[in-house]
Symmetry: C2
Subunit: 332 residues, 2 copies
Amino acid sequence: MTAQRASVKDVAQLAGVSVGTVSNVLNRPESVTEKTRVRVEQAMAQLNFHRNASARQLRAGVSRTVGVIVMDVGNPYYTELARGIEDRLADDDHTLILCSSDEDPQREAQFLRLLAEQGVRGVLVTPTASTTQRLGDLRRLGIPSVLMDSHSTQHTSVGVDHVSGGRQAISHLLDQGHRRILYLAGPTDLQQTRHRLRGAIEAVQAAGLDPTDVLRVVNLPNLTANEGQRGLIEALDDPGPAPTAVFAMNDIVALGAMRELRVRGLSIPRDMAVVGYDDLYFAAELMTPLSSVRQPMRQLGWAAADLLLTEHPHTVFQPELIVRASSDFRRP
Amino acid sequence: MTAQRASVKDVAQLAGVSVGTVSNVLNRPESVTEKTRVRVEQAMAQLNFHRNASARQLRAGVSRTVGVIVMDVGNPYYTELARGIEDRLADDDHTLILCSSDEDPQREAQFLRLLAEQGVRGVLVTPTASTTQRLGDLRRLGIPSVLMDSHSTQHTSVGVDHVSGGRQAISHLLDQGHRRILYLAGPTDLQQTRHRLRGAIEAVQAAGLDPTDVLRVVNLPNLTANEGQRGLIEALDDPGPAPTAVFAMNDIVALGAMRELRVRGLSIPRDMAVVGYDDLYFAAELMTPLSSVRQPMRQLGWAAADLLLTEHPHTVFQPELIVRASSDFRRP
DNA sequence: CGTCCCGCATGAATCGATTCAGCAGTTTGG
DNA sequence: CCAAACTGCTGAATCGATTCATGCGGGACG
């Protein structure tokens, strides 16, 4: 088998024109006679010609791919984000390279290096703690970046107001009469963790209570169901008054916590209320439908990609609490 | 800002060596004196040098990225697959471009064209109906491909035995005493749809029954929760005896079906048993824990990538039915 | 009829990393 | 002591698409 790719040169030869003309057919078809254009196109079809993106990019200097680094592709929350990005990129005929950092700065750095070598048009990141410095390096190479779901004064970014999300969740639980609330948080170096905590504290203070009495925080190294379960065990096995409600960093963590509650025969929400975050598509279908803070991920992704392609200012979206049975026993 | 990328030439100049030597430092460091190597490395660091992947690939002819096209990145099933692929690729310092075909042959073709232009090292696809012909085009360009979760005599592939999966699910439902079973299937041109049906028929026949009496098939155009709900409505509103069990194409479809059962106040599994497919991580945590056919997605992805990098023969994995309350009322 | 212009096509130069024949200088061996 | 082998480095050629100064032929116009 002659597994040889046809080049513009081959096409030119077959069509009996010069390489420049072939290039014109590809990039400025209006500047070529109909007759020659057809001839060249036939030659391309006959040779199964695909233009070599490397050569194209090497010469032209610009790429039509965008790098996207999310914390966990396994989490539907982030794939929804990716969808939004893809939607926007498709409009401008760009594509995306999707990478999963697994919240590991090492891996993230590795991907950033790779994307830099690829000469991507730009990079969209849900940043881990140590990201921002490396993005400076990229900018120096002429590669713009947009932070997603995060805020920084030195970078363009799109975000959701996590302070508001934390406030809404905790206000709701306080309204339900809870006075000892467990916050199953992510690592402290994650901005989301801190912002939601701030919102939580604001909510407690607004109710005229003392945050140190009301809130108990457990930081989980990973945001998985197993970690959520482990975190709840840790909190329940702790001596002292047990919490009566849990605010989880995301729905998957909440899933793990609910699993443990069930193991212990505790009723949700009577013995322990639960509020999650992200409102994943199955949240309403769980054993106990899960209250959750909904985030407009698709729009967020769209906005991030748009920012990269069109240079807009910073954008912030508002989350919205969805109350279900897991935190309100009057609900179905 | 001088957003100018440094090239090997710049590095060579700064280090006082030739470009060939810089290239040697990058690719054959053992063939360079320690002294010059250090000097070159310092120059690279000082200039914040990143090698240009386009130029590299243009010359070398080989790429270190692999294209992956899955049917739906929103489905955790496929992201798990992607994880397995990534695991294997990382071992050989390759990376992946992840694309979502959304079961749309048009989109798939678009991505294949793009990947061909990128000159990827290979392509891994969960194929839609019309894929195989296009893969022939790729092969003619020297780009190998591996079908995932599918089988074809003309292509290397990794797959799960869907006949077995269908057989296991239906055998189980027959054992539970069901004699009218609804199969909420995907499009008929999807291989998985047909194979599972074949397994279902085998199971019915093995029980000495007539498949046309027992099985009712509804083909859904998309495998979403909403479609699952719609499919169930269609079947229930149909005159004639209603089914007593549902076998869904995947857990998300099952989710939609269960939603409708709940709306109608039907009990699961007493009024209607449900068995899903894929055993997504939340299947055990649903309102009624969902029986499901588990597939080793991560291994499948790993095997697919391995196949591409090392040229092994065809691999088939076995699925495993996990029985939960949704299809067995003696279960918790 | 000559000049100018315009539309269309040409092909050499270019991008940056890699490769490889070749060169200078050193070591080995007979 | 000289040939051969080896080491470490050089720099021109190369990959394929794009660009742009240049050429060419035909039509318009004076």
